[in-house]
């Protein structure tokens, strides 16, 4: 199952890309402590203030367009940048490690209900 989010920011894709790949910039929004070797196959470690730590491997990287990380728990996050008239559309899809389809169905149903 997936969680999908999208925002449009006024900056150019190239600048947003820096925020996705430069560990220092990532520390401003993604995690409190970041190590990332931003190239295909490169490894990343993300730590948060609450003691949480996640490791990832860069599965895909297309400069200023697309970054895909595989989490060590089996999940994946794909971030895509697209130039739009008023800046850059940032599109995020995080996929979970596998849940049974029946759980997924009901989860979707319940979130749909909550949003209704």
């Amino acid at each position: 199952m997936e969680v999908e989010r999208e925002i449009v920011v006024p900056e150019e894709p190239g600048e947003v890309w820096e925020s996705l790949t430069d560990p220092e910039r990532l520390e401003e929004w993604f995690a409190s402590d970041v190590e990332l070797d931003a190239r295909p196959g490169g490894e990343g470690v993300f730590r948060w203030g609450d003691g949480d730590e996640r490791r990832a491997v860069v599965r895909e990287l297309e400069e200023a367009e697309r970054l895909v990380l595989d989490w060590d728990d089996g999940g994946t996050v794909a971030i895509e940048l697209e130039p739009v008239v008023d800046g850059t559309r940032v599109h995020v899809v995080e996929s979970s490690p596998d849940f049974a389809p029946a759980f997924e169905m009901r989860a979707l149903a319940w979130t749909a209900l909550a949003a209704a």
Binding site: W29, E94, M105, A107, W110
Partner: protein, 109 residues
């Protein structure tokens, strides 16, 4: 994947009607309910309610139990499932992160 997708479509189809959504809520409020009980408080026939309940059960939102001549329905206990928790917490995390990304970019420019 195709079967999962059609399952999801089925759920959204089942919920794509305000009447069905409120039926799920009515069942949840009562714990269990039959079509007769639910129809008593609504300007629709028992048959119409029964049909909707059956659709909701097919989509996995309600669970049907035979009770004599009637079928009792209860809400499946999905809110406690790991999948729901995952969806809610990951969604909230991205809302926060993307807001922080926006602030971080604005600060730099």
């Amino acid at each position: 994947m195709d079967s999962a997708r059609s399952g999801v479509d089925q759920v959204f189809a089942a919920l794509g009607d305000a009447g069905r959504r409120s039926l799920v809520e009515a069942v949840a409020t009562r714990g269990t309910a039959t079509a007769t009980e639910l129809a008593a408080g609504l300007p629709v026939t028992r048959q119409a309610v029964a049909k909707q309940l059956s659709t909701l059960a097919d989509a996995g939102l309600l669970r049907a139990k035979r009770a004599g001549r009637e079928t009792r329905y209860e809400v499946t206990p999905a809110p406690l499932e790991d999948a729901v928790e995952w969806m809610v917490s990951v969604g909230a995390a991205w809302d926060e992160r993307l807001a922080a990304l926006r602030r971080s970019l604005a600060k730099k420019t």
